[in-house]
């Protein structure tokens, strides 16, 4: 007697899988975690999402340095909620990376061992309270320009995480701008702080969009896969066009003598970016590189006993 054979369909070959994947991307549909995907797509996404998550977590520190000293209780509440959001954003993103088979603890180790990077913008120090406002306005503003297109990323979990992040980020940019408006209406010392902070953060904000398009080798593949939606230069221009009128309302001068409206295009021309400065920061010569990583390392190592205790308790009480 023989049991009926349960014929499983033969595993599709790689070319068929690739063709299906390409068709999903071409149709503008989302790739989901259990779909077949090219290894390059998976690894590239893990790297990108992890870097993004690391940036959120490290990005808590520059502003977090002002949490204890925030100069009013209302500002303290706003800043605490904002820094908490950044922890949340990091968690949403690690969560997306984990759907690709990455492990959060492992990604954290890679950050601490400097095998994965985070955005260089967070290696600059926050020297005055105006920096909190300028980070909200310019740094979060630039981040929003980068992030809004990612809500349409071809990878479903990343796109969904970004929708949640973007909704919350708009609060971040608005609180920053509102702080700066208040400070500009305040004392001379406050206005001087704002001017100084804008001077220090303007160029690093423009550098957040990455190298010029003709010098950006990874972008083409990312755009083809729908992981990246707009070129670096296009996003940078969009940010400048949005920000210049905001600066005028605020009454601050952006530190670029070449900044001018091009009547032909209706867009703003701006001066050349000094990439050597950014490269120095990335090379580890930024003011705060070592300090940022040291704090993450301490949070992991000094508290490992807490994590272990909870695991031990859970296994004792599993029944």
């Amino acid at each position: 007697m023989s049991a009926p054979t349960l014929d499983r369909p033969a595993a599709p070959d790689e070319a068929a899988l690739q063709a299906h994947f390409d068709a999903v991307i071409a149709a503008g549909h989302r790739i989901e975690p259990r779909d077949w995907m090219p290894e390059g797509y998976r690894q590239g996404l893990i790297r990108q999402i992890a870097q993004h998550a690391h940036s959120e977590i490290i990005g808590m520190q520059p502003e977090g340095d002002w949490l204890l000293a925030a100069p009013s209780l209302r500002r303290k509440a706003i800043l605490l909620a904002k820094v908490q959001d950044e922890a949340g954003h990091g968690m949403y993103l690690y969560s997306a990376a984990e759907t690709l088979g990455a492990d959060r603890a492992d990604l954290t180790d890679k950050l601490i061992e400097r095998r994965q990077k985070y955005s260089s913008i967070f290696n600059y120090p926050t020297l005055t309270y105006a920096d909190v406002g300028v980070i909200g306005w310019l740094v979060d503003g630039a981040a929003i320009c980068n992030q809004v297109p990612l809500c349409r990323s071809s990878y479903g979990p990343y796109a969904r995480a970004m929708i949640r992040v973007c909704k919350e980020e708009s609060f971040h940019q608005r609180q920053g701008y509102e702080l700066l408006m208040t400070m500009m209406a305040g004392s001379d010392a406050q206005r001087a702080m704002v001017a100084d902070a804008v001077d220090r953060w303007w160029w690093p904000s423009l550098m957040m969009f990455g190298p010029p398009d003709d010098d950006s080798p990874n972008s083409a593949q990312s755009m083809r896969w729908g992981v990246k939606r707009h070129s670096n230069d296009e996003l940078r221009q969009r940010f400048v066009d949005m920000t210049v009128p905001q600066a005028a309302v605020l009454g601050v001068t952006l530190p670029d003598p070449e900044l001018a409206l091009d009547p032909a295009t209706g867009r703003y021309r701006f001066g050349p970016i000094d990439w050597s400065e950014l490269k120095a920061v990335i090379a580890g010569n930024g003011p705060c590189n070592a300090e940022r990583i040291a704090r993450r390392r301490a949070a992991r190592d000094d508290n490992a006993w807490v994590t272990e205790a909870a695991t031990a308790y859970a296994s004792k009480h599993a029944a």
Partner: protein
């Protein structure tokens, strides 16, 4: 609808959907829209002094919890501790604003310029000896074990108090307490969950949790003896005599520690509170230097 319900309603709903954006950040005046009239027979000076004690406790403990942000054991705990801090900050703002609304501002109002709101005048422009927080909340965090033991003790005490203050004859205080009860319940339970896991986790975590208990326990001595202000206000149904909280607080702490397999130390010899008497101690002085430095450097500034 009675006065109490109106006040509670105003506190809880006055700020529309803004609370959805970030707890307690969407408004400028914490008591906006609230009737702050002091009912007949209540001494405003006593009421204000009492609000300062409770507001200072919340502000100082918020500051301590905030020190964990960017340093917590796991990202989940970053978020949890920040939530507790935000709740306490909201309570501090309401209580300091209540003190201001009954005219208890002292020297702070002359040091802070006019546009600075009362809550900030009180938080930023009082000297350490004008603070009335207990030594329990001012003590340093220590490690995570000591931090959660202190959070357990502080929130158990405050929850027992706020549950009773919901009946306070001051409707504003009653409303602030009613709003705080679910928040403090959550803090106490969060801390208790951690004390259980550390006490009954590994040998190392047990040792650290016990050390935290042994450090925190003597600080309980200050919490249960009424000051003159508390005694007078308790007699008129505005405040609660802290001695009434002892059994409940002790019961909760004992239960949690026993379940966590930790040794419950002997109850400390009770004494009048040093913190409530305006003895700040070096730890509070240092904490206030961090809190106040920037605001005091720019007394004419609006933020």
């Amino acid at each position: 609808m009675g006065h109490e319900e109106t006040v509670y309603d105003a506190l809880d709903h006055a700020h529309g959907g803004e609370g959805q954006w970030a707890f307690g950040t969407g408004f400028d005046d914490p008591l906006a829209g609230v009737d702050t009239t002091v009912p007949e027979g209540i001494d405003p000076a006593d009421l204000g002094a009492y609000c300062l004690m409770l507001g200072d406790d919340a502000l100082v403990l918020c500051q301590r919890l905030t020190q964990w942000v960017t340093n917590a054991p796991e990202l989940e705990e970053e978020v949890a501790l920040a939530n507790c801090g935000l709740d306490l900050l909201g309570q501090a703002r309401l209580l300091l604003a209540r003190a201001g609304s009954v005219g208890v501002l002292g020297r702070s109002r002359t040091l802070a310029t006019d546009p600075v709101p009362d809550e900030d005048a009180l938080a930023y422009f009082r000297d350490p000896d004008e603070f009335r927080s207990s030594w329990l909340v001012a003590a340093p965090n220590g490690d995570f074990g000591q931090t959660v033991v202190r959070l357990l003790a502080a929130s158990a005490w405050r929850l027992a108090l706020f549950a009773r203050l919901r009946e306070s004859r001051d409707p504003v205080l009653a409303a602030i307490a009613a709003k705080g009860v679910p928040e403090l319940t959550y803090h106490r339970d969060h801390a208790a969950r951690w004390v259980l896991r550390l006490g009954d986790g590994t040998a190392e975590s047990h040792r650290r949790a016990q050390a935290g208990v042994d450090t925190v326990w003597p600080l309980l001595a200050d919490l249960f003896t009424a000051t003159d202000v508390e005694a007078r206000l308790a007699a008129t149904g505005v405040a609660v005599d802290p001695a009434q909280l002892r059994d409940e607080v002790r019961g909760v702490l004992t239960l949690v520690l026993e379940r966590a397999t930790l040794t419950v130390p002997a109850w400390p010899a009770e004494q009048p509170s040093r913190g409530r008497a305006g003895e700040p101690g070096p730890e509070l002085t240092a904490l206030l230097a961090d809190l106040q430095g920037l605001a005091r450097a720019h007394p004419d500034a609006v933020w």
